[in-house]
Symmetry: C2
Subunit: 311 residues, 2 copies
């Protein structure tokens, strides 16, 4: 693909950050924006990091996909809970050769996009990053981390190499990989315990999870279950990876996982993508994951009530 015109579907922290990086590197980035339209129009898009900040005073922002039209690359950075709107949001952005990169969490978005728009379009991206939206039009990136990319159902090819090069040009540490689902399970090793326990243990940040020995031991036990779930699909995740994830989380301080941020803000939590779908897939292959099942059940109950009325 000649990668020039890019659409960002879902200008939250993730979509806004990577879109701004690509725009700064000279790509023609078009942001599909809902709630922050007025702020972005008025003050531009501000990206902060602990070391510096930069502003794009006039990001190309749109209220509808029709105004954007066909692109070379569509980056889907919605919450999985908003996938019901994909048809309407993505279809107007597609030409015959448009690639779709999904940065959504958990399991399910690759297959859904493949089914809707054609498997050959779909690339998955895993963002190992600490980034959040501080206010409308402003994004704070605490750790740029890295981005892993893989084609859906195929090993890497020229298109993926070009996409990797584009992100590298945009200053993002990027890895092209061959097995998208293996990557997704690997990311779940962190998301399942930390996003889940941060909600189920009463709305606490990662440092407080690791401060209670009983919860730290649940983190490990849940990680082992995810590793076991991955193993039934022949994805081997080394135990070392688990310890690395815990160690690096210790350096993150009072970090609120994205699901907790959503939960506390009263937004829908990606319960099915992060917990339900991995659980169902692994159970369907005969795995028994009692802790993941219990956590999923509790999260399902907790998120069916607004947090304020829950107690």
């Amino acid at each position: 693909m000649p990668l020039k015109k890019v659409a960002i579907v879902g200008t939250g922290a993730i979509g806004g950050y990577y879109g701004a990086c690509l725009a700064r590197a000279g790509f023609d980035v078009h942001f599909l924006v809902r709630s922050d339209f007025a702020a972005l129009k008025e003050r531009g898009m501000r990206i902060k990091t602990p070391a510096h900040e930069w502003v794009d005073p006039r990001p190309k922002i749109y209220r509808t996909s029709e105004e954007i039209g066909a692109c070379d690359l569509v980056i889907v950075a919605l919450k999985a809970t908003a996938n019901g709107a994909l048809d309407q949001l993505v279809s107007p952005l597609l030409s015959e050769s448009t690639a779709i990169l999904t940065l959504e969490n958990g399991l399910g978005s690759d297959e859904l996009l493949a089914e809707k728009f054609g498997a050959q379009r779909v690339i998955g991206g895993l963002c190992f990053i600490c980034v959040y939206r501080t206010q409308p039009g402003e994004i704070m990136c605490l750790h740029p981390g890295s981005l892993s990319l893989a084609e859906f159902g195929r090993p890497r090819g020229p298109r993926l190499m070009e996409l990797e090069a584009a992100f590298v040009r945009a200053g993002v540490k990027t890895h092209a990989a061959d097995d998208l689902l293996a990557l997704r399970w690997k990311k779940l090793v962190w998301n399942v315990p930390f996003n889940g326990l941060s909600i189920a243990a009463g709305g606490i940040s990662t440092d407080r999870i690791l401060a209670l020995p009983e919860l730290e031991s649940e983190v490990r036990a849940l990680m082992l279950e995810v590793i076991e779930g991955a193993a039934v699909f022949n994805f081997k995740i080394p135990i070392d990876f688990m310890e690395q994830q815990i160690s690096s989380t210790r350096t993150m301080g009072a970090y609120k996982p994205s699901s907790l941020v959503d939960y506390l803000a009263g937004r829908e939590v990606e319960v099915e993508a992060i917990w339900g779908e991995p659980l169902r897939r692994a159970e369907a292959r005969g795995a028994e994951l009692p802790r993941l099942r219990m956590l999923y059940s509790l999260l399902k109950a907790l998120t069916s009530l607004p947090p304020s009325s829950a107690r």
Copy 2:
């Protein structure tokens, strides 16, 4: 024992209810009272049931055990979390032949009382009852249920028969049994899932636990783990019992388990007696109870924060 003079240590819903029943039947019942002293002095003790109510206008209430002095029977109806005060509260009530009946929940209180005051004194009681304190000096009993009694570390004997007769005379459906620990594990089959999930799923009553299929399935899975924990001590709990417990819970409506009531009121929850101690005992014998361990860890985290600040 000539069973005449009785002390109630802990005049909450359980202690107040059984004490009032015994007093109405002619026993000389002395209530050790803390927070409700003024209300009981002024308005007496009112016991309500869905069908009728009765008032003891002048219950014998005391602020200290020294004012009560030696009794034939001491009924300990404290929360397990108040056990630090046992020495001070119980010692003045003991003569050489005083029996101690503990109605505390979970595991641990029999052994603790035996260690402090002599194993020969200790009798355990399991209350299968729906009762709660509606306001100072007023107790509502929704289902009188039944009371199971057993000697600590011994089969039943004349003393237990006499105690059973006393409760029967007081209108309480009572069973004398031979194996106290087996009874305690049996009660945990209900307490572990319902008391625990009612807190961990966001402060919900039993009807809402059973309304969500995923949570109902966790109730069963936790019950099976308790049955497995009991089995390592050779206590056989039939699977039928589990289904009976779930069915009878369905008839209880929007019931708030006692631990949830404590939690919502900001009182300490009996996390160790109901979840921690059974878990440790079963694990020490080689049982693996992943759901009980996870629930215990979550409850430990949730109860280390006041509920209002937790979200």
